[in-house]
Symmetry: C2
Subunit: 328 residues, 2 copies
Amino acid sequence: MNKKQFPYCQDWAIGVDLGGTKIGFALVHKDGKIKEYTKIPTLASQGKEQVVGRMTENIHQMIQKAKISPETIAGIGLGIPGMVNPMTGIVRFAPNLPGWENVPIAKMIENEFNRPVMIENDANAAAWGEKIFGVARGMKHLVCLTLGTGIGGGLILNGEIYHGQNFFAGEVGHMILNQNGPECNCGGKGCLEAYSSATGIRNQIREKYEEMRQKENDFSSIPDVNQVKLIDLFQQAREGHPVYSEVIREALEYLGLGIVNLIHLLNPQMIVLVGGIANEGEKLLQPIKRIVNQRAMPSYTEDPQIVLGKLGNYAGIVGSAALFFPDR
Amino acid sequence: MNKKQFPYCQDWAIGVDLGGTKIGFALVHKDGKIKEYTKIPTLASQGKEQVVGRMTENIHQMIQKAKISPETIAGIGLGIPGMVNPMTGIVRFAPNLPGWENVPIAKMIENEFNRPVMIENDANAAAWGEKIFGVARGMKHLVCLTLGTGIGGGLILNGEIYHGQNFFAGEVGHMILNQNGPECNCGGKGCLEAYSSATGIRNQIREKYEEMRQKENDFSSIPDVNQVKLIDLFQQAREGHPVYSEVIREALEYLGLGIVNLIHLLNPQMIVLVGGIANEGEKLLQPIKRIVNQRAMPSYTEDPQIVLGKLGNYAGIVGSAALFFPDR
């Protein structure tokens, strides 16, 4: 097709990663390169109008700074930490964004920029990013786990994001692995997230200290594990810290079991791990792979690759932009 | 399109349900009605040539008996209890059919009848049957659980059977729900099948008797639970049998948890229960629904219908035939 027929080549897309604490913006080229990137605090408590205002302001600035014509932007993709309907562009609700209930965010942004807007759940966006530009290029069936404060899941099945009936699919973090297990944020018990998310790990550490204290009639206060960085928790666990090592061993064990269940159920080509905990890299992968090899049925253990995402913390933002870039 | 252009209307398909103990055959009209039906013992131990021989013989007889021209048969669909590749028509392996490894069964049947042959895993066939002619007509996303000797799963996602990368998807029976749970046939521990299949229930009953015997220093022998019909086990459990009621309560509890995990992961419109245990009907559904309502996240509990299959023991056979009937 002759490019001259078109006034502009739409080589760009903007990705926005709307998080509970930070909003990331990126201008992404269709080859996957990030040309502009910026990050601002969400300040969600100021209300959604304020948040949307800061979003549009920053998108305007980014376009100006990049010195590209708005017509060369294929669209704006938003990754949102909640239940969203990509067909209507409405955020149904987002637990970490107070007041975000039934917000027609796509329409709001579209009106401002006169460019197409697509929205996705953030874990789905991360999965799509890894598929289009990351470690899962060319994969048809994959599960992407976002291992952070919580645990999210993005399913790509038959080459497309799988949404389910009400766009709620992929809640891997709330797979129940022990019905009598620790309490989860969702109100349930023994969910994967209650064991293997950053929050779950910290809660379990506090639990263990509390148990020890009661057993030993120790009235000293429990160390504030929120003050310890995740990377240090993992490091000290490996060095044999009596509490951390037990909790993290269990966290990885349950993460492995969750992955076994995903493999048995969906028979994916690849499981991609992203998010803060995935920064542990190979040290995370090895114990998980060992558990999967032990617990998955023999016919499955040869197949699925369990890998780290390639886009790091940019998976969601690049994936949101890549909603406008077709599969290659 | 003018029907006169075609010499024949292909209004029929043959469905074959190849089980470990019995083979069912049905001539199915495209409106879903069964015109002919027959069932023979598999006699799997005689070897696969013998089994295939009896299959072709019975298909020939069925066509003759129905007095239809073979050209009016759109095809022959085979539901097979194992890992099959529907693209190549090869059975990779089938645990309950000794010697069935890499058997090009589709080609073998095709050569005999000169009609197209399609193969499917039996749980997938049952899911498809319920979708095309049963309780799940018009559904886009559904999970069908075959609750029998084992527990199988058929996933219909986006209106199609979902196979996964190696056609292994849907092993719902081997979802691990308690990593320290009872041993499962697959070699693992605490799989759904180890709790909630007929085999799992019987094993757990034996376990419980054994525990009681040891606790009470009782040297009498354990009653042979294999001699008690499944329907009687359930009935006696409801009447308060001290061992059966505990085991079956747990079996339904884990079945409910497994369904919660499926709902969180796949957000289906419908969960369809078929197979021997599903014959319990409403008495089975009520406790399961209660558990799902307790344990699923609130946003999910309104949506998915948990229902009994409509085709009963014919789901697999009608579904195998219906592989030739497009979705309506």
